[in-house]
């Protein structure tokens, strides 16, 4: 009896060891050529001009928005430099930043009687780069992730399997799916930024590629002072100053996702 139970213990131990052994193999499959293994002497670093923050955030001064026309330049700047296609079929639309009316941008906050100003104004909406993002929680491959360095909720287009769980999880409708190859629908291609292939999810990336070379996000530059961008955890930053001095609201804060886009009303 005893020897047989010991034998089965050894069997199980062997199986367990096999399981542990399989871990690194699986990892190796994921990222062929781990760091340093292939190029022992090469290294990586950030660019000298790269802007850094614990958590990037944005303040939208909606008092400065007169009409939807004030938002259009932001949308155009963003969609142009990121090769966002203009899909002909409405349900396939790709949007990184776009205008919405108050009751759509802030459902639950709409009142029956509301100031004419708010009722007639458009509000720019985009990915909130939440501090507690549900899209990241649900992604089965870590293709969307919260970047430790700067709090940007990023998309890894090479890893996304297109399951669209993140789209179901996002309470802000900030994500778009490439229902078909976007290539034919990009009017003026920006060769410095990649396109996407069909079958992956995309969204605003807070212009990570521009921050890396010391430039502000394209929408902020094009916003005529409506958008302000900065480090949420630097008390001296421009965004913190605005948040301190004005009444701001954020979208659906009751859901606990901690959005980092603030709206001055």
């Amino acid at each position: 009896m005893k020897s047989s139970s010991r034998r089965s213990f050894l069997k199980i131990a062997g199986l367990a060891a096999l399981g542990i052994g399989a871990g690194p193999t699986i990892k190796a499959f994921g990222t062929i050529g781990g760091h340093g293994a292939l190029q022992p002497e090469a290294s990586f670093k950030k660019g000298e001009k790269a802007m850094e923050a614990k958590q990037w955030a944005m303040v939208v001064d909606t008092r400065k928005i007169k009409s939807e026309a004030d938002i259009r330049p932001m949308v155009e700047a963003c969609h142009q430099i990121h090769n966002v296609p203009d899909q002909p079929i409405d349900r396939h639309a790709i949007k990184w930043i776009w205008p919405e009316e108050f009751h759509n941008a802030f459902p639950g906050l709409q009142s029956q009687f509301i100031s004419e100003k708010i009722e007639n104004t458009s509000f720019p909406v985009l990915c909130n780069h939440c501090e507690n993002p549900p899209c990241v929680r649900v992604c089965p491959t870590k293709a969307t992730f919260k970047r430790e360095e700067d709090g940007i909720v990023m998309m890894d287009m090479h890893r996304c399997i297109g399951c669209r769980f993140c789209m179901a999880a996002c309470p802000f409708g900030a994500r778009s799916f490439n229902f078909r190859d976007p290539e034919p629908f990009i009017k003026n291609v920006n060769k410095e930024y990649p396109r996407r292939m069909k079958g992956v999810v995309e969204k605003c990336n807070f212009c990570a590629e521009r921050l890396a070379v010391g430039k502000l996000p394209a929408c902020v530059e094009a916003s005529n002072g409506i958008l302000t961008f900065g480090n949420l955890y630097d008390p001296q930053s421009e965004v913190r100053k605005l948040i301190r001095e004005h009444n701001t609201i954020r979208r659906k804060i009751h859901l606990g996702t901690k959005p980092t886009i603030y709206y001055i009303i």
Partner: protein, 137 residues
């Protein structure tokens, strides 16, 4: 079923099956017999020639450019680091679109020749636009 009798059942059918299977399995080799393609010759753009050396040595790039690119894309997107420092201390922007394809702007005479020869079809250019843009495929 008599267990002590060792004999092949349906002998004819089985042997014929094995022969047919072997023939089908060998078909790709038979078709390409004596048709070895010559090793491709790559064309360097003047910009590439001028630079003399790529981000790494020719041998390294030949052998491991795919692993290098794979590592680049993870580092850029996930670690927010965009500068590659090669063993000689030279710095490069880790970008297929803006670094690699900037010099090697002749996809058909450079990238495609080897890829066709090796019969691989990476889909990098679906998204990373060849620079200047060439005809698709």
């Amino acid at each position: 079923m008599p267990k002590n009798k060792k004999e092949l059942y349906n002998k004819k059918g089985v042997i014929a099956g094995i022969v047919i299977f072997a023939f089908i399995a060998a078909l790709p080799f038979l078709i390409n017999l004596g048709k070895a393609a010559p090793a491709p010759e790559l064309v360097l753009t003047s910009k590439a020639k001028e630079a003399k050396e790529c981000v790494r040595s020719k041998e390294f790039i030949k052998r491991e450019h795919m692993q290098l690119l794979d590592e680049w894309r993870d580092t850029v997107v996930r670690d927010a680091k965009r500068i590659y420092v090669n063993p000689q201390g030279k710095e490069f922007n880790m970008s297929l679109s803006n670094t690699c394809l900037d010099c090697h702007s002749n996809k058909t005479d450079f990238c495609d020749r080897c890829h066709d020869y090796a019969s691989v079809s990476p889909y990098c250019w679906d998204c990373h636009i060849d620079n200047p843009k060439e005809m698709k495929r």
